[in-house]
Subunit: 346 residues, 4 copies
């Protein structure tokens, strides 16, 4: 049985990790870290866990935690993991960091977009970017995995095969993304109050959102060229779900079947990626509660562009689900253990 410690167990992503790991046959949570709720019963914070989780919240003492567990998930604000990680910890336990601290290889890019001084850049090189469908083999051997962001998981996977195969002009790529409000976290802030979000939609972080360089880096690896994109996130009045609508000019004259074949080549054997039937547009509701990515595309001959669309549950494939998928890979377990989640509708 894999012993799991979670730092940041009372945020929405942490809570989702707890939910998913309840159904995992080979792992059990033994440390519910939460600086805000130390000594409080976990199920008093998340009443859904009443009579399911009996534990109390502990502090975030990662050194002590490293002694006790096989893997640590850090579902913490940017900068935390980088500030506490050291070689001793990594020598004792595996770390899956759900923050952005080790996602970006160029520390200068990280420091510029996040406006934080990176406290342990020495581990950036070693850290594996935990996008399972792309970096599966490296993840298997990793000590430290940088779990991708929610927007980035959806944005990258939606375009990845076409970037890789060079059929889209990477200079034209535009990602217009829409997210449910759980992506904003459980902090008590006025803009996230029910009355401010309900019956409303807005863009935010326009031309400045921190997930931008992460998408650019990964799609740069795929396409073999430097990529600069426009990424625009929007806040949607729903709890869960991200939909990415992506636009790019086609470099080649391709038909539906050609593009379908490319996606099939990369994703045909993927458990968690579903290429939808022709003309079916992804809807976030159809993946809610599951680890699926639903993807489809439409070629517009009039404009010579392709419109790609991808949908995920931001807390599952966009955070906790992918983190568990990474854990499974790192420990040699079946990749879908604990993740055979049927989307809930309605």
């Amino acid at each position: 049985m894999i012993k799991v410690g979670i730092i940041g167990a009372t945020g929405y992503a942490g809570g989702e990790l707890v939910r998913l790991l309840q159904g995992h046959k080979e792992a059990e949570v033994v440390w519910y870290g939460s600086r805000s709720y130390i000594d409080k019963q976990y199920a008093d914070v998340y009443q859904n866990m009443f009579q399911i989780v009996e534990d109390r919240c502990l502090d975030d003492n990662i050194a002590e935690l490293a002694e006790q567990v096989d893997v640590i998930f850090t579902a913490t604000p940017q900068g935390f993991c980088a500030s506490v990680l050291n070689e001793e910890i990594l020598s004792k336990t595996k770390v899956i960091d759900l923050s952005a601290d080790y996602r970006i290889k160029d520390v200068a890019v990280y420091e510029k977009w996040y406006e934080i001084k990176h406290k342990s850049p020495q581990f950036i090189e070693e850290a594996v970017y935990g996008l399972c469908e792309v970096n599966r083999e490296q993840i298997k051997g990793a000590r430290l995995v940088a779990n991708p962001g929610c927007y980035t998981t959806c944005s990258i996977l939606t375009a990845y095969p076409l970037a890789k195969e060079g059929i889209i002009d990477m200079n034209t790529l535009i990602v217009d993304a829409k997210s449910g409000t759980s992506g904003a976290g459980r902090g008590a802030k006025i803009p996230n109050l029910y009355c401010e979000v309900n019956e409303n939609i807005k863009a935010y972080g326009v031309a400045s959102h921190r997930h931008t360089p992460e998408i650019e880096e990964q799609l740069g690896y795929a396409s073999g060229e430097k990529v600069l994109i426009n990424f625009t996130p929007h806040l949607i009045p729903m709890n869960r779900g991200i939909l990415a609508t992506e636009y790019a000019s086609l470099k080649k004259d391709v038909a539906y079947a050609d593009v379908k074949a490319i996606y099939q080549k990369y994703y045909g054997n993927e458990t968690f990626i579903r290429m939808l039937k022709e003309d079916v547009c992804p809807e976030t509701k159809w993946v809610e509660g599951s680890n699926y990515v639903d993807i489809n595309f439409k070629i517009d001959a009039r404009t010579n562009r392709i419109i790609m669309m991808g949908a995920i549950d931001n807390l599952v494939k966009g955070a906790a689900g992918q983190a568990v998928q990474n854990m499974n890979l790192m420990f040699g377990l079946p990749e879908d253990e604990g993740l055979k989640l049927v989307p809930m509708f309605p």
Copy 2:
């Protein structure tokens, strides 16, 4: 492996049965009955099931179905099951009817409230009212189970121990219930359109809702007296969830601990009933996606009344989950097989 047939597989309750049975180790759905979508792929109707369910919808030929399956779930409009059921079917297969056809023992009461002529009253006597926590032993031996209504499951279980123990005046019982919109079904009706339900709340079926006599009958059995209640359902802008707020005058001078002990006596060993801690009010979100009933109460010394509150997911404990729980009992399986569902939050 238990072979399952569902008639009405494309309604919301039918869809939830399909979802739950995907995770059931001892049962598999072999017949997806849907009059509206015959020959259509099930996953084209419920896109969440894409690459999970490969079957096509079949018609609702119950005679043929009885040959093929061990149990039939009828998630159909009132009157359907009564109109097709016969001894031959019941001799071949078990039937769990999610409609109201066999819930009410007095056929005159059924016909008055439902304004339907009952087509097979000969089975009413035999049918077991499938409220598992109350009728567990009878269910185990039943051929025909009448799966309780969503409002009724919540309303009855919330008050049952107090009715049974005679501490509330049954003549004063008032049930004010609130339901998410999935309870209204998937029919294309203007009052259920997004724009009509969103940002709105209303009572409906005031003093005339069909779940009233069902609650009255069952609480009558519990209390040993004829019960007449006021039951008022309300439509709430959410997909899932029922909250029942119930009021009754206390017949005895009781303290918190007394009432707590009574609930504990009846529900202390129940897997799916969670008696919350003192002063914690049930919230539908904390049971969403699960088979739990969350219950609590508050004594008001000023008015000598007790306020009881219960919350369920109307599609799970209020429909498909309880139906699976009944199936488990009927087939001698662990009662929670397929139902170890952790509520999803947020």
Copy 3:
């Protein structure tokens, strides 16, 4: 032109006052008081007011304010108005207090339910309870009006004629109320976050909500007897609206027409109270954005109870709209000036 000062102009009720007064021909806001946003442009806090309100927020110096305006609205937390009010202020300006400070005549009751020491009980006697349809004449001559609470406005008006005429047994009155989330205010609290409220319903303040004694006092005046009720508020995933469902036993054998006539007697000439047609249940959406109260009832001969239902927009008739209605009465203006608001649907 009546000069208006608002203290607490950046809460939801304050914001609604600003919205309504924009359409008022005889009044203009000259002081936007907001302790939290001093010197900030009002339209930066409420972007809907961009290019409509050019003013900046001021502090809540009520003494200075009293020099400048004809009427002060205090849309402030409990205790504030009582702590700053004095004879000098009241000698210079009229005050309409949207908090509970002067609603309850018995200061001991106030102090018990609100757990606050009342700082200026000497004005309680003078204050007029500003439920316009009930206390119209007294309001006209008042210097100090206690604007009723949102739940109370709805709960009282729904039952008032029947209490007044003595046809319901006041000892049996139960008020089950449901409110949109704007009633919880604009404070940054986790329970009011979008993800906590959406897809959720809960009761709160069971047997202890502060609006209880206010309803009891007013219905006590109406019925001429001491009244104790059960009042249970619920939080609903919508921005605006309150629905009260009220239950009481009938003291007399009455028919629909009798009860209709009683409501007609009291409300037949009221601009803002709409008695709906038989069997039409009030829906909050039908009054959204307006000052209407929609009321109806249903007699249940089976239980000898009457179910009364009332719907309001909590921010209009439940707060700012009624405050403006009070101002109109106090200044001898047409009662509906600034309040000819057509409900917005959908």
Copy 4:
């Protein structure tokens, strides 16, 4: 007093016309046309109008209607207006058509995108495209106005000044639009049920939505070149509101102040267009219930693109409000008569 007839008064746009015209000093509705509800009281269909509108619904006899009114609004399905309009009607009354029948000058384009044979192409030339801020002078003299679509109003106005001044490369323009569900109309269709829309987002009509050629035509006039765009609408779980996020490459090296000045040049004197402060993103909630268009932009130096954003209430500026604005222009009234609507928040 202008006498108004509405054909299609019981759709959402028709209902909004009724709401707005209640507050119009110079116009009154005398004909509530509704094929579906003939002889039914209008306020029974839209309960918000109870005791406000006493009229019954009439049929859609446009010939008779033309005798009685000064202006007819047709809020009807595509093809209806074209099928009934004739010279006699236009000689007697003005017509403001809220459908697409006269929006597109090239009848072949209309027939291709709408898959309808145009029944009265002879009036297309005469019809004025009723985008008030662009075609104000022509509208003043028009007999027949084609009221723009909701998506198109928002999409065009957001980009218009930049297209007109030639600073964006029209070949790169991409419009990603998001709409509340009222835009889908009041028809009883499964995809518009509450449970299907709530907690969900999807794109639809990708590369094929009918508003595409309308945007292209109008921005073509502005830019003086043939324009082909990608337009992708999305369905959002909210009642009202459209947000358009638009992307284009800059043809010139421009700074924030340059672009601001261009918008100012075109919209500086417009009552209903609000250019927001730098870095403030439009939110649909801030315009809800009003005729405002809130617009802003962000230059991304990294990609040399500009991101433009516009927000409207789809039922007001996107339908009924703009129709009233057109009526005001056609009858020489102040353009904002009946439209001094303060957005409602929350």
